[in-house]
Symmetry: C2
Subunit: 319 residues, 2 copies
């Protein structure tokens, strides 16, 4: 599987951004470790999702490209697929819940994709995508449970190691587990002693439960502010990969997530969406006690102005 | 004067951040140029001001350091002087208007400086600073009208040229003219054909008027959102330097400034204060028509959550 990540890295060259790695003296002093942020909020389309989407779609045959692609996503994956569809001139359809963040829906449409609404209380996005697939011959580009997607997402951690070399610990947000399993495979292949920890919101702790019990748990539309982690469960591929390659899973409170977004805004001048701030939340709340050299994947930065305003006024934290 | 900038660059090594240079495909496509952002919002204390402050304060004698320093500033210079004071263990006093942004006052105090309020309607900050200087023997570290400050600020443009090499144009925000004159001296010394343009808010266009008429104009507490440019006028040193080294001055509307902050937030995931977004405002509003390789100095990122919320809800621009 590591070979797939290495190949994906070559495939992405010149297409995905090699995102910068940032550091913050204030955070280092406060947590007593040397922290390196891999800034996927500065990836194209604003999140790591571009990596997996490009890796998967660029491998389709001409015939598959001609028929078009479809995906289902609450947001960042949708934008990524829509952008890659535009770049590779593939007609793109996205099934999206009616309550998806406005900024994500608008960006998906701006990239030229057709957005199809659905009511998450009545049906599942997979059902709708499958109907349309059968009708039109679309290829489904799933948000995480696909080896090319997982390999693509793993390239962020791969680049992080290329740049900062040794890491003692790597913190990765977890939704469906594509980023987490890809990152874990990259980290363990490059540096077997690096401890890889997945971070979830307390309110959407299905993967943490699944990890600790070794039995798949699910959640339904969990009310966490971290909308990128509202996926119902790990996937058929990502669950075993997470079990095999990840060292631990931890959860963080909604308050910790809000404070992490505020910290990133005021101290690091970075716009990070709540799901993207999970690793920072784990550090600032001491849910993970960091030592040595710690990598943190900042997974995305697509946040509605309204939500950011709400977060900035929350608790009126001093910067 | 360029030699002073070069020396300042050496003095800052290991103390100031060598801030990253960012690019944005969306902006390049929209303006038809290749734009390089020098991200001084990622400088220590959140703005370019650290450069000048460190360059000046690190040159004080032991006796001067023992007596302490004082400055007057509406914000970013205050934070920078306070931080440098802490780093170099020099007692620091800051005279600040009562209506200064909360985030800037709080950060100044957090760095350990003593903040002294004044009412800008009744007296000037220079008067108060001079009284305290006489009383306590403080050394005044002025916000812009000082050769070591100007040389320190010029190091940002110096670094930008080091990293991106040739530039056809350089856009620099203008308040008191320290950053602008330092940048212009650096640019013209390194690349004489580079066109250096200072950008001001329309509502605080004293430097633009001064530049075009060659007579010093002043403004009093101009109601621009770009609080970093509310300085009354260019200084005794900066005015002639701007006249000598700057090619043109342009102004941008308050709407253009708001839209630039929004663009930087949504598209580049960067937290930039209004004054820091002046160059982007000039590009997006086509006040400056850019061609070739364009450098833009993003001067700072210290913005109140309340102000950012107001900006994000303004016009409800789509990201």
């Amino acid at each position: 599987m590591f070979e797939r990540i290495r190949t994906a890295r070559e495939r992405l060259r010149g297409h995905a951004n090699v995102t910068p790695v940032m550091t913050c003296r204030t955070l280092d002093e406060s947590v007593g470790a040397e922290v390196f942020f891999k800034c996927e909020n500065l990836q194209r389309a604003g999140a790591f999702k571009f990596r997996g989407a490009f890796n998967a779609i660029s491998q389709l045959t001409d015939e598959q490209r001609d028929r078009g692609i479809i995906t289902y996503s609450s947001g960042n994956h949708a934008q990524a697929v829509a952008l890659v569809g535009r770049l590779l001139r593939v007609r793109t359809t996205v099934v999206m819940p009616g309550n998806a963040p406005k900024v994500k829906r608008a960006a998906t449409e701006a990239y030229g994709a057709t957005v199809i609404d659905y009511d998450p209380e009545k049906t599942t996005r997979e059902e709708i995508a499958n109907i349309l697939k059968t009708e039109h011959g679309y290829t489904i580009i799933p948000p995480f449970d696909h080896l090319d997607i997982i390999a693509g997402q793993g390239t962020a951690a791969f680049e992080l190691f290329e740049e900062v070399k040794a890491l003692d610990m790597l913190l990765v947000p977890c939704g469906g587990g594509g980023l987490l399993s890809g990152s874990a495979i990259a980290a363990k292949s490059i540096e077997p002693t690096c401890r890889v920890i997945g971070i979830e919101p307390e309110l959407a702790d299905d993967a943490t439960k699944s990890f600790h019990t070794k039995t798949l748990h699910t959640v339904k539309n969990p009310p966490t502010i971290a909308d990128g982690t509202r996926t119902p469960s790990l996937g058929e591929l990502t669950f075993p990969l997470v079990l095999q390659h990840v060292d631990d899973m931890r959860t963080v409170s909604e308050t910790a997530i809000v404070e992490a977004v505020q910290f990133l805004f005021y101290r690091m001048k970075m716009v990070v969406e709540p799901s993207g701030a999970l690793g920072v939340a784990a550090l600032l709340s001491a849910e993970v006690s960091a030592t040595g050299r710690v990598g943190v994947i900042i997974s995305g930065g697509n946040i509605d102005g309204d939500l950011m305003s709400k977060i900035l006024s929350s608790g009126k934290k001093r910067p």
